[in-house]
C-alpha cells in the first residue's frame, strides 16, 4: 500500500523534501502571478538546471551551481525591470530557450551529464537524500521569512506604485529581493523535484486559489492547500503505480486546474 511507504525510512526524507517545496512554491507563485511573471519562473528553473549541469562538469556542488545560475538569471531579470511588458516577456523567453538549449547540448554530448540531465528535467524526488532535505528545510524557512517580510511591500508596489515611491520605497529593490528568493527556491526545488514539477507547483495552485478566494490571505492558504494535497496524491500515486513522480504531479495539478476552471465557470453562470 502506498501509505506504508510513508513509514519507510527510504521514502521519509524524499517525502518531506518535496513537502517543503509544496508549501513554499505556491506561496511564491501567488506573488509571481500578481506580477504576471510566470514565464520568469520557468526561466529560473531551466537556468538552474543548466547551472547544475555546468557545476557537475566543473566539479562543484550541484546545488551551488543551480543557485548561482538562478541568481544570475534574477540579476539579469532586474535589468529589464523598467522595460515594457513585451520586452520583459521576450527576455524571459530567450533566457528559457537559451538555458534549455545549453542543457540539452550538454546532456547530448557529455555522458556524465546525461543521467543528471534526465533527473533534473524529470525529477528525482525518490532519490533525494538528507542533504536535499536540509537544503529544502532551510530554503523554505529563509524564503518563507523573506516573503513574510516583503509581502506588504510587494503588494504596495503593485497596487500603489506611485505612493510606494512617494514614501521612499524602491520598486526595483523589492522586486530584485523577491526574484532572488524565487530563484533560490526554484534552483533547489529543481534539484529535487525537477524543472516542470517545480514550475507546476509555482503556477497552478495560485491559479486555482485565485478563482475561489475572497481575500489575498485566503488565496495564499488555499494555494498552499492545493499544492500540498496534489503533492501528497502524486507522491503516493507515483509509488503505487510505479510511475515517475514529476509527470504524475504535473498531471494531477493540471486536472485540478481544469476541474476548477470548469466548476468556476458553472458557479458564476457562464
Amino acid at each position: 500500500m502506498p501509505f506504508d511507504a510513508l513509514l519507510d525510512p527510504l521514502f521519509v526524507q524524499p517525502f518531506f523534501t518535496g513537502l517543503a517545496f509544496a508549501v513554499l512554491l505556491p506561496l511564491l507563485g501567488a506573488y509571481l502571478r500578481l506580477r504576471d511573471e510566470w514565464l520568469a519562473a520557468l526561466a529560473f528553473a531551466q537556468t538552474a538546471a543548466a547551472g547544475a549541469l555546468l557545476a557537475m562538469l566543473a566539479g562543484w556542488p550541484l546545488q551551488l551551481g543551480g543557485l548561482l545560475a538562478a541568481a544570475a538569471a534574477a540579476a539579469l531579470k532586474s535589468v529589464f525591470e523598467g522595460a515594457a511588458r513585451g520586452v520583459q516577456g521576450a527576455a524571459y523567453a530567450m533566457l528559457l530557450v537559451g538555458s534549455w538549449g545549453a542543457s540539452v547540448l550538454l546532456v547530448a554530448n557529455l555522458p556524465l551529464a546525461e543521467r543528471l540531465g534526465h533527473a533534473l528535467f524529470d525529477g528525482q524526488l525518490y532519490f533525494t537524500d538528507r542533504d536535499h532535505l536540509v537544503a529544502a528545510a532551510i530554503c523554505t524557512g529563509v524564503a518563507g521569512a523573506g516573503l513574510f517580510a516583503l509581502s506588504r511591500r510587494l503588494l504596495l508596489s503593485h497596487f500603489f506604485p506611485d505612493y510606494f515611491r512617494a514614501v521612499g520605497g524602491s520598486v526595483r529593490r523589492v522586486h530584485f529581493l523577491f526574484d532572488l528568493l524565487v530563484a533560490a527556491a526554484l534552483a533547489l526545488a529543481t534539484m529535487s523535484i525537477g524543472v516542470m514539477s517545480a514550475f507546476a507547483l509555482i503556477f497552478l495552485p495560485p491559479l486555482v486559489a485565485w478563482a475561489w478566494s475572497g481575500s489575498w490571505r485566503r488565496s495564499l492558504a488555499l494555494a498552499v492547500a492545493v499544492g500540498v494535497v496534489a503533492y501528497v496524491l502524486a507522491f503516493l500515486g507515483a509509488l503505487w503505480l510505479d510511475q515517475p513522480f514529476g509527470p504524475v504531479l504535473a498531471l494531477i495539478l493540471v486536472l485540478v486546474g481544469v476541474l476548477s476552471g470548469v466548476a468556476h465557470r458553472l458557479h458564476i453562470g457562464l
Binding site: F160, P161, Y163, A166, S215, W216
Partner: protein, 196 residues
C-alpha cells in the same frame, strides 16, 4: 495666534522631463491647508507633483520641505485587478488607511474583492487609501475622476476633515467647481494665486 507651519514652499520652480513643461511657479502649503492646482491640459499639473517627489527634472527654482515631512501620493495609475483576490479592506490596510469615514454604501462592500466592485468604487477606495494614509502632506492627482456627484461631495468633506487633522493637501484637478468647493486657495499654473 501663530500662523500654521509651512510644510512646503515652492519658489520659481521650472520643471519637466526632457524640456521644461512647467513654470516658473511659486506657492506655499501650510499644515491644515488645502491648495488646489488648476490649469489647462499640458500646463504641468501632474509634472509639478512629480517634481515635488523628485521624479521630474528641475530646471530652475527650488522646493523646500519641512524636515521629516512624510508625503502621500494618489495618481490615476491603477493596475488591472481582474482575477486578483484582494479585497477592499486589504487594499486600505496596505497604506494603513482606516475605513472610518467611507461613504456608507462603499463601507458596506469593503470586504468584497476589488474585481467585484465598480470602477468608481475602486477609484474611491484607491483614493481613500492614499488620502487617509499616515502623512503630513497629501498630493492628489485628479481625485474626482470616475466619481459620481455624491462621491465628489463626500470627497470634499473628507479633504476638509483630513486638513482639520493637521495634514496639508495639494489637489490637482480639472474640476473647477470641486476645487472651488474644497480648497482654501488655488494656484493657477501660468497665472496668479486665488483665494477661494
Amino acid at each position: 495666534m501663530s500662523a500654521p507651519a509651512t510644510m512646503l514652499a515652492v519658489c520659481g520652480l521650472t520643471a519637466g522631463y526632457v524640456v521644461p513643461v512647467l513654470g516658473p511657479v511659486s506657492f506655499t502649503l501650510a499644515r491644515g491647508e488645502i491648495v488646489g492646482l488648476c490649469g489647462p491640459n499640458g500646463s504641468g499639473k501632474s509634472t509639478l507633483l512629480a517634481a515635488l517627489l523628485g521624479n521630474a527634472r528641475i530646471f530652475g527654482g527650488e522646493i523646500n520641505k519641512a524636515p521629516d515631512t512624510v508625503f502621500s501620493l494618489q495618481t490615476q495609475r491603477q493596475p488591472p485587478v481582474a482575477g486578483v483576490p484582494l479585497n477592499g479592506a486589504e487594499l486600505l490596510a496596505l497604506t494603513a488607511a482606516a475605513a472610518d469615514g467611507l461613504p456608507p454604501a462603499l463601507a458596506a462592500c469593503v470586504g468584497r474583492r476589488l474585481d467585484r466592485l465598480s470602477g468608481g468604487q475602486r477609484q474611491f477606495l484607491h483614493l481613500w487609501a492614499c488620502l487617509q494614509a499616515p502623512a503630513d502632506v497629501v498630493l492628489l492627482d485628479e481625485p474626482t475622476n470616475n466619481l459620481d456627484p455624491d462621491g465628489v461631495a463626500h470627497l470634499a468633506g473628507a479633504l476638509r476633515a483630513r486638513a482639520a487633522g493637521g495634514a496639508g493637501l495639494l489637489v490637482v484637478s480639472h474640476d473647477a467647481a470641486f476645487l472651488a468647493a474644497a480648497c482654501d486657495r488655488l494656484v493657477r499654473l501660468g497665472g496668479n494665486d486665488d483665494a477661494v
